[in-house]
């Protein structure tokens, strides 16, 4: 095996070499401000208008999208280019069995998806994913603003990361747009 050591080394090490127990992969890709600039350009302005979803709204959205609405408050920004409404910028999070993903969705003014960017990806094989206190540490006081992570981030091959939950999240957000934001 030694002749192959220049390209592969067989090891047996936990990927969770970071502070939080059981955590495997952690990556911060973009901050909220970076995502806003990338998705709408430098000249756009952002005005925060979080959506508050009462139980009736939650039910309507759930029926329209087939996806359960967990949170009452949805962080949302109206985006303007001068006086013109350019679209909406939404921060959302989805929780899988082992992954917890914070992502941003840019919507055109007419509700079409313009772009999706992952902000934070966390993976854990411990209990932490469904623990709100654990998740809260990655979201700053200003809701939706992830903290900066500085651990060594690895390239990992094998066991595909799922993005099924993101697809469901986007479905839910589009139904939210239809119910709450669509004009007339």
């Amino acid at each position: 095996m030694s002749a192959h050591d220049d390209w592969v080394r067989f090891v047996s090490v936990p990927l969770a070499a970071v502070a939080v127990a059981g955590q495997v992969q952690a990556a911060q890709y973009l901050t909220v401000a970076q995502a806003q600039k990338l998705m709408f350009g430098k000249s756009a302005t952002f005005e925060r208008h979080d959506l508050v979803l009462d139980s009736k709204a939650k039910r309507v959205i759930r029926e329209a999208s087939g996806v359960r609405v967990e949170r009452r408050k949805q962080p949302l920004w109206e985006v303007r280019e001068g006086d013109r409404l350019a679209g909406y910028f939404i921060i959302d999070e989805v929780i899988g069995k082992h992954e917890y993903i914070t992502y941003a969705v840019a919507l055109e003014a007419d509700g079409r998806v313009r772009q999706i960017e992952i902000l934070v990806y966390r993976e854990s094989y411990g209990y932490e994913i469904r623990n709100p206190a654990w998740r809260a540490q990655f979201i700053g006081k200003k809701h939706g603003d992830p903290v900066t992570l500085d651990e060594d981030i690895k390239n990992i091959s094998g066991a595909t990361m799922s993005c099924r939950h993101i697809s469901q999240g986007v479905k839910r957000l589009l139904a939210t747009y239809d119910h709450v934001l669509r004009p007339g």
């Binding site: 192959h4 390209w7 495997v24 990556a27 973009l30 690895k154 091959s157 094998g158 066991a159 990361m161």
Partner: protein
């Protein structure tokens, strides 16, 4: 080169997974611009080759009348061409017509109107000049075993065109590093994803890992691998990793190694690739048995060198085309 300049790391949900692009060596705004272009290319490939979409090239081919020529995008044609090459070299261990069995099993949505012929194989897909495809029998192509790698290759090509000196594109574990920097990649244990069993060094190389993750702990049920020869599922708990120059080749060959284990040594060598298996937590390198000993690193490099620039058809010795990921 060290990655001392600005560094950018982005991720988007594409190709049914999380696609991550890490770039360095230019001003941040330039790197973001390049990443945007690379993501756009991956999104385009996703649209063309998705088995889930009725708008895709794949859907049109799968649902065209037998014997009629269907024009497709050059990229779709290139992927089918490379798939045919690997199918031929592997004697059908790799076969994109496994899509029919995947649909019958419910591992893929049923996206064909006709009834696929059980006897159909990759040989029933005819690739015509002018980027046209003609089917000889009713069948269902699934490019799940190769398109992800191809998308990574195309993304790397776009990034290079933008002048990005170094980086890595990782589509859910199928990845390719470019530039002078050596990238370290950890390969997970297929049953215990929190444990790394191998550490691979990549410099201007791709690595892809395949496993049947269905029914294993974690992740969703999309990772089903069927053997095209007997349409049976691959046992869970085993994973195969292949290193090659192109990610599309690594992706497809990883399926072959998963299915045929150590007997795939010659196949890997034909493509200048190397590989290993992880099973029951234990790794084994592919290549040792075939040669009565372990191949030296130098011998591997020599094999890799011969494949520079184009795939070679070993039977005829003819060059059968440019690498699909090559910049056009």
């Amino acid at each position: 080169m060290t990655m001392s300049c600005d560094r950018v790391r982005r991720a988007r949900p594409l190709l049914g997974t999380l696609v991550e692009i890490t770039l360095a060596g230019q001003a941040e705004s330039k790197l973001h611009e390049a990443a945007d272009a690379a993501f756009a290319e991956i999104a385009r490939i996703h649209e063309l080759m998705s088995v889930h979409s009725k708008e895709s090239d794949l859907y049109r081919v799968n649902n065209a009348a037998v014997g009629s020529a269907v024009p497709v995008d050059t990229r779709t044609w290139q992927v089918l061409n490379l798939a045919a090459e690997i199918s031929g070299e592997s004697n059908g261990v790799f076969d994109v017509t496994v899509g029919a069995a995947m649909m019958a099993r419910g591992a893929l949505p049923r996206m064909v109107n006709g009834l696929p012929d059980r006897q159909a194989t990759y040989r029933d897909i005819e690739l015509l000049p002018g980027d046209c495809v003609r089917l000889q029998r009713e069948l269902a192509i699934d490019l799940g075993g190769i398109a992800k790698g191809y998308a990574v290759d195309r993304a790397v090509c776009i990034l290079r065109k933008h002048g990005v000196p170094a980086g890595c594109v990782n589509a859910g574990g199928d990845l390719r590093a470019f530039g002078d920097e050596v990238q370290t990649v950890h390969v997970r244990d297929p049953l215990e994803p929190a444990i790394a069993r191998a550490e691979v060094k990549l410099r201007n190389r791709a690595l892809a890992t395949s496993a049947n993750y269905a029914g294993s702990r974690g992740f969703d049920s999309s990772g089903v691998v069927l053997d095209p020869r007997d349409k049976r599922g691959v046992v869970a708990g085993r994973s195969a990793s292949v290193r090659a120059e192109d990610c599309a080749v690594a992706d497809a060959l990883a399926k072959c190694v998963l299915l045929t284990g150590t007997t795939s040594a010659l196949l890997l060598r034909r493509f200048g690739a190397q590989g290993f298996l992880i099973e029951e937590g234990l790794p084994s390198i592919i290549g040792a048995e075939e040669d009565g000993g372990v191949l030296s690193a130098r011998a591997l490099e020599t094999v890799a060198g011969r494949f520079d620039g184009a795939y070679t058809n070993r039977q005829s010795g003819a060059m059968i085309g440019n690498r699909p990921g090559a910049c056009s």
